[in-house]
């Protein structure tokens, strides 16, 4: 059984007991435990079920590489699936449940897959479930889906919040082991601004567990001294529980900090996403131990040797009473020794190497540990827990010569440097034959903007595994990073680490060497996804020989541990199957994130009301108080209508239209885009931007203008006012302001950079109100101030002045066909002005109106709306706006585009009005059909409706639409089929339904 040892445990505080539950069972642990350590201390080795075969799964590792020990954690709004117990800090009250089983962890019906495993090799689903056709969707897929998946689905809304932060530094050091600490020390002493990140809650990495001595003292003393020195440096920031998970171009690093994961509900954000821009990145991310592939290597109780050591030394937990160690290297002997020194039984060390000579094996021997050389585990016994191992010759085919009873197996297949941060931005790897691993190739680093190395690997992450080399390498890396940034590292002797001499490891990819197919079907490579040696060999046999094919065909390395344990072993098996060398087969691409990152942290605070920035007009609060029904327009929210008690939205819109037409309406038009274009070349610039001429517009006048893209398609419209000799104010659509401003800058900065033009988007500097209706002038005259008479301020002119004590700019423009003034006041005075208009307007029947009323009125008047009549494929000529397209100008944006054959084709669909024969409203989006079908069997069409409304003014349905040769076909009837049957017939008429001669707006 696994249990808590009476003594030891460098990371736990035995004075601080913590209670938690696992599958409802109450358990105890200590502060400083990981959940995995605490589970093991409570003899809970079985923690989950595998993905495909639902095989029992136990804890394998002690860090981010753990493939098995994932649990559902927390409840309600703090429920979180797939929590990795090996990196989860224990806290009092933690609740966890195991995953991927039904009805229980101990008895899982899904294990039937395991019994059928022989029939479910890699890719079996590509070869079956083909017939009958409907069965995949209705039968097989639901079964596959239900069986797959891991954690449960979160149900409640997240109770936590997430934060995002920015940081800048010269040198970012990822990894707080002795290598990272040393690199940070060197860079920090050189004066570099350093950020040092460590994913765990504690510093020092593996060195203290491995009993490394640095400068004659235990590694812990070095760690303490380094931390003291680093903490004292103002230019150094230290951060634990913070994992650098991705490196991006130009030294951009993303890191996830677990702020309150271990203190839920304390008011702090759960996690914090750090966006760090670093001059150089030192990757001191260590190395990960590899499993060995022997039959039954997935049975709970089989663990990484380093993890067993970690549990014993860090948390005083023994994974088993009797632990067999199996290895191909010297390092695993540290585990045997640690176990023995903790008073635990180590029945044998099974070493695949024929000759075992190093210092550590010698020490193990001296402690009385039996060492079996040239040997292999042939098979692990047990189902939900290891009960023993059968051993035989590594060079053999799997004949067992002896069975050894044990309840845990500690395995070591050698170490692989963590090269992820090196590789994310294209750093290349080199195969190290002696250590049988890929390590960073210093000659081909990921490069930054100037072609120099952006990431510098340090220590074990650079393949420098022995403690002495590791520190020396980190010292160099720290200096290199500082030097690259023009700083001078101080000359100082690197600390020296003493460690026992280790003999060479020998790669072992299959154990035993000659194992037959039956054994290979029991050798797991990917524990979570259930990928075995036989699966990779099958992929190779079937021609999925590229490493990417193998990965995708078998799902090797695609589980939530991202193949940290399985990739190299799988690669080696593949290479062996192909009779190729490992480096020729190559690796799959390393992509961020290094370990899975909480999506909430990536979304940050952008949720709910502030999911996107909310733009409010100065009068927004008034609209809210009035109970306006809002619609989103870009980032704005505009009143769609102002329903009164008992009114539907439709009724409200009709009332607003009628009232505005008959009396007086007020519209908050502040969202309308307002862009100032100024400078000696402003007129010339606007002549290029608009299809019509703006340079000739006299000061004091307004002109309606159209803008096209280069293709000749209409992109925005609005009224332009000439403010003075070299200043124009361009109104754009509400949704278009930012886009058009960017469009202007695009041309000014990229094409006409020598033109003297400045632009400023002043949309939010003004509040703007449209005062519309027959009583509009009366209201302004009542407010008093500037002369707003027809004579003083005729249609399509503007003037600065004062109304009711407000400084304002008044435009005589109309989008409704009524007498209309659009009045801009400084934004800060918008609310007061709006209230003043409403108060003073009461006696004239003033009512606010919303965007839908605006739409109906402009449609009655036949005015186009960008986004309704246009959709990116419509030219001004299609909309019969020929009068606004200059024929004289040598050039403007879209001129050439419009001249292309297809755009000049007389058969194009053009704007007309549509009057239904029965007075009904044509459905939104309806198409007019023509006889017959096209070459693809699709019904021919000859037009479509672009705006369709019930007109409260005309008391009937009105519409605008684009119809083939429309304007030439006045009076003809076209037919619009309805979805679901039936159709509406409409007569082609002028699009201007209301006040055709403009008598109302020009008064």
């Amino acid at each position: 059984m696994s249990t808590r040892l009476a003594r030891g445990g460098r990371l736990i505080d035995r004075g601080a007991a913590q209670e938690f539950t696992f599958n409802g069972k109450r358990m105890k642990g200590f502060k400083g435990d990981t959940l995995a350590a605490a589970l093991l201390a409570n003899d809970q080795m079985l923690v989950g079920r595998s993905f495909k075969y639902h095989r029992p799964r136990g804890i394998v590792a002690s860090g981010a590489e753990e493939p098995n020990a994932l649990v559902n954690m927390g409840e309600g709004g703090r429920f979180e699936p797939n929590q990795r117990t090996t990196t989860t800090e224990l806290f009092d009250g933690l609740t966890a449940t195991s995953q991927n089983h039904w009805p229980s962890l101990e008895f899982d019906v899904g294990v039937v897959n395991n019994y059928a495993a022989r029939f479910l090799p890699a890719g079996f689903y590509y070869k079956t479930f083909i017939h009958p056709r409907a069965a995949w969707k209705h039968l097989f897929e639901p079964i596959v889906r239900q069986s797959a998946g891991l954690g449960k689905v979160p149900k409640d809304r997240d109770a936590d919040r997430y934060e995002q932060a920015y940081a800048f530094c010269d040198v970012l050091v990822a990894g707080g082991g002795v290598a990272g600490l040393q690199a940070a020390l060197v860079a920090g002493r050189a004066g570099a601004r350093v950020i040092l990140l460590e994913q765990a809650p504690h510093w020092g990495g593996r060195a203290p567990v491995d009993g490394v001595e640095i400068d004659g003292k235990p590694a812990e003393a070095f760690v303490e001294a380094a931390l003291a020195e680093l903490s004292a440096m103002e230019n150094v920031t230290l951060r634990t529980r913070c994992m650098a998970f991705g490196v991006y171009d130009h030294g951009y690093v993303l890191a996830e900090e677990r702020v309150a994961d271990h203190t839920p509900g304390d008011g702090r954000p759960k996690k914090r996403l750090w966006r760090i821009r670093a001059g150089r990145i030192v990757s001191a991310t260590g190395a990960i131990e590899r499993p060995l592939s022997f039959a039954g290597n997935d049975i709970p109780g089989v663990m990484l040797a380093s993890a067993v050591r970690d549990y014993v030394v860090n948390w005083a937990v023994s994974p088993g009473d009797r632990t067999v160690v199996v290895t191909n290297n010297d390092d695993a002997y540290r585990t045997a020794i640690a176990l023995k020194e903790a008073g635990l039984d180590v029945p044998a060390v099974i070493d695949a190497r024929p000759n075992v000579t190093g210092d550590l094996p010698a020490k193990a021997r001296a402690l009385g540990i039996r060492i079996e050389t040239g040997s292999a585990i042939v098979k692990v016994k047990g189902s939900k827990r290891v009960t023993g191992v059968a051993i035989g010759l590594q060079a053999g085919e799997g004949a067992a010569r002896e069975e050894i009873a044990c309840d845990a197996v500690a395995m070591s297949g050698g170490w692989s440097p963590v090269v992820h941060l090196w590789s994310h931005c294209g750093g290349k790897l080199v195969w190290d034959e002696a250590a049988a691993h890929f390590r960073p190739d210093a000659a081909r680093p990921p490069i930054t903007h100037d072609g120099s190395a952006m990431v510098i690997a340090a220590g074990a992450a650079n393949g420098a595994l022995p403690a002495g080399e590791c520190l020396a390498d980190a010292d160099r890396a720290g200096a290199e990073a500082a030097q690259a940034l023009g700083m001078k590292p101080k000359k100082a002797k690197a600390p020296e680490a003493a460690a026992p001499a280790e003999a060479r490891m020998e790669p072992v990819w299959i154990m035993p060497q000659g194992a037959g197919p039956a054994l290979r079907m029991k050798m797991w490579l990917d524990y979570q996804n259930d990928v075995k040696v036989s699966d990779v060999q099958l992929a190779a046999r079937e021609g999925y020989t590229s490493v990417e094919h193998t990965k995708r065909y078998t799902t090797l390395g695609m589980a939530t541990d991202q193949g940290k344990l399985s990739n190299i072993n799988g690669l080696a098996v593949l290479a062996d199957s192909l009779n190729a060398e490992i480096p020729q087969v190559g690796t799959t691409t390393f992509r961020p994130p290094y370990t899975p990152v909480t999506i909430g942290a990536l979304a940050g605070e952008s949720r709910g009301d502030i999911f996107q920035p909310l733009r409010r007009t100065p009068m927004h609060a008034w609209h809210e108080a009035q109970g306006a029904y809002f619609e989103p327009v870009g980032l704005w929210r505009r009143p769609y209508c102002y329903p009164r008690a008992g009114e539907t939205h439709e009724q409200a819109v009709h009332r607003e239209v009628t009232n505005t037409r008959e009396r007086l309406g007020l519209l908050d038009a502040s969202t309308l885009g307002k862009i100032i274009v100024k400078g000696p070349d402003a007129g010339r610039f606007l002549d290029m931007l608009y299809t019509n001429v703006m340079s000739s517009l006299p000061v004091g006048k307004c002109r309606y203008g159209l803008m096209c893209n280069e293709q000749g398609f209409l992109s925005d419209d609005g009224v332009v006012a000439r403010i003075d000799e070299d200043t124009w104010l361009c109104h754009t659509t509400s949704g278009g302001a930012d886009r058009i401003h960017a469009w202007m800058e695009d041309w000014l900065q990229c094409e006409w950079w020598d033109w003297k033009v400045y632009t400023a988007n002043v949309t939010e500097q003004y509040a703007q109100v449209a005062v519309v209706g027959p009583n509009a002038r009366k209201l302004l005259e009542k407010l008093g101030g500037m002369d707003v008479s027809r004579e003083a301020l005729p249609f399509m002119q503007w003037a600065d002045g004062e109304l009711g004590g407000f400084r304002c700019r008044v435009y005589r423009i109309s989008f409704s066909g009524e007498l209309s003034y659009e009045i801009a006041v400084p934004a800060s005075e918008g609310m007061a002005f709006w209230k003043a208009l409403n108060d003073a307007g009461a006696e004239f029947g003033a009512m606010p109106y919303g965007t839908e009323c605006l739409h109906v009125m402009r449609a009655e008047k036949g005015f186009i709306m960008i986004g309704d009549e246009t959709d990116g494929t419509v030219t001004p000529l299609d909309l019969c706006l020929d009068w606004a397209v200059s024929k004289k100008k040598a050039d403007f944006l879209g001129k050439r585009g419009m001249q292309r054959t297809y755009l000049a084709n007389p058969e194009r669909w053009k704007l007309v009005g549509l009057e239904t024969l029965d007075g009904s409203v044509i459905p939104d989006g309806a198409y007019a059909v023509a006889p017959g079908v096209n070459g693809n069997g699709q019904r021919n069409t000859e037009g479509r409706v672009t705006s369709t409304y019930y007109s409260p003014t005309l008391k009937r349905g009105i519409a605008m639409g684009l119809v083939r040769r429309g304007p030439e076909r006045m009076g003809e009837t076209v037919e619009f089929p309805k979805v679901g049957g039936g159709s509406v017939k409409a007569r082609i008429v002028s699009p201007v339904f209301y006040d055709k001669d403009g008598e109302k707006q020009n008064v």
Binding site: I130, K137, Q146, G543, S546, A603
Partner: protein, 415 residues
């Protein structure tokens, strides 16, 4: 080719699966072929497959620089739909969707086409009108779509936040027979079928030059020697510009990175595909249980399969707002693909200035769903030398004439 079936698996299981043959052969290139297709992605392989199946042309090589299916075929979010607005798009995507319905049976390879239903959310009144237009258009195009209200949306997608404070869901464009398929399997299934017809799929073979005489292609220089051909099809997505340059003509194509990601797997919680274009994100759940999420394209041209991370953040913000429960899931993998974009975001299936050279490219962000239809149309073009009705509108000369097939009309993005 040995047929795949549950019986074949049972038979093989008894001998530890030692008897499976290669899914596709790995031959040395011959001296010349009747037709060569450059690019063994989904589109290239499908083009070859229908050349053989529909026109009996099987002396064909498919040449691939890397490994087959290793480009965008294996990097997309596997969505299949045909609810397009413009007639030519609706025709070819619906053809593709219909072919997907029986593709597993046709190829004897389970591509896991799952017509689980696809929703495009409308979150502004403007979008509502746009999708109503699409429904009307689809109705006339023979594409089965419908408009559904928010209540039905919630029924289909229980995890959705229907009344978010910023962009409440007003309804959706629903295509019940839209869905997903297993992307790699599509490439592998076509490759296996092509190989079974006697075609040569030649991987790890990079084209270095296009040899020609009198305005006609005579063959290709490759890293594995010169290979002659009577007809050439270029189907290389993001690298179309380079191939066209070798052939001596230019294309209106830009290459940009498009990103996607998946979460860690969880038990089934969403059966349909949901696309939200106002907030800009889309999501489905794979059979493995991963939430498959699509992001936006970078605003600049490049060939790195990475992309800028802020797009991922924007996408996730949008999806956390739309599906609040995903905030406690974790992003497992993130990747990018290089998409070839044309000026109107619609593809090119076209003759070229070279008489016997044809090109199929420009699928942009929407290529996977089109694979069978694209191959069908390309095969017709290559076999007959003239486009059929499916490809007719997708000529590369349409940009000169301004005859765009602009799908951005219907949605902010075309996926």
């Amino acid at each position: 080719m040995k047929r795949y079936s549950v019986f074949a698996i049972a038979r093989e299981a008894l001998r530890y699966h030692q008897g499976w043959e290669r899914a596709w052969k790995s031959p040395e290139p011959k001296k010349s072929y009747d037709a060569i297709i450059v690019g063994a992605g989904g589109h290239g392989l499908a083009s070859a497959y229908y050349l053989g199946k529909n026109y009996g042309i099987t002396n064909v090589a498919v040449i691939e620089k890397g490994w087959l299916g290793g480009g965008n075929t294996g990097r997309n979010t596997t969505i299949i739909r045909s609810n397009y607005l413009q007639d030519p798009s609706a025709a070819i995507y619906e053809k593709a969707r219909a072919l997907y319905e029986t593709l597993s049976q046709d190829l004897n390879y389970n591509v896991m086409f799952s017509p689980r239903g696809l929703l495009m959310l409308a979150q502004t009144h403007h979008e509502v009108r746009g999708y109503l237009r699409t429904v009307h258009a689809n109705n006339l195009q023979g594409v089965s779509t419908e408009w559904i209200g928010p209540g039905r949306v919630k029924e289909l997608v229980p995890i959705i936040n229907i009344d978010g404070p910023r962009y409440p869901v007003l309804g959706a464009l629903y295509q019940a027979r839209g869905g997903t398929a297993r992307h790699d399997a599509v490439a592998w299934g076509y490759a296996r079928a092509c190989s079974a017809m006697g075609m040569d799929i030649i991987q790890q073979c990079e084209v270095t030059g296009v040899t020609q005489s009198n305005g006609v292609v005579t063959g290709l220089d490759t890293t594995r020697g010169h290979i002659g051909c009577k007809k050439l099809g270029i189907v290389v997505a993001g690298h179309s510009g380079q191939l066209a340059e070798m052939a001596g003509f230019r294309l209106p194509i830009e290459a940009v990175a498009l990103q996607a990601l998946v979460s860690e797997p969880i038990k089934p919680c969403m059966d349909v595909v949901v696309m939200a274009n106002t907030v800009h994100g889309y999501m489905s759940q794979s059979d493995k249980g991963e939430m498959v999420i699509g992001g936006g394209t970078d605003g600049f041209n490049n060939y790195t399969q990475r992309g800028s991370f802020h797009h991922i953040e924007e996408t996730l913000r949008a999806l956390v707002e739309t599906f609040p429960m995903i905030s406690r899931l974790k992003m497992l993998r993130q990747w990018g693909g290089i998409v070839d974009m044309t000026g109107d975001r619609s593809p090119i299936i076209s003759k070229t200035p070279l008489g016997n050279c044809f090109i199929n490219c420009g699928w942009g962000t929407g290529g996977f769903k089109a694979i069978p239809g694209s191959g069908w149309a390309m095969a017709e073009l290559m076999a007959k030398g003239e486009p059929g009705p499916l490809a007719a509108e997708f000529s590369m000369w349409r940009f000169k004439e301004g005859q765009f097939i602009d799908e951005s009309v219907a949605a902010g993005v075309a996926h």
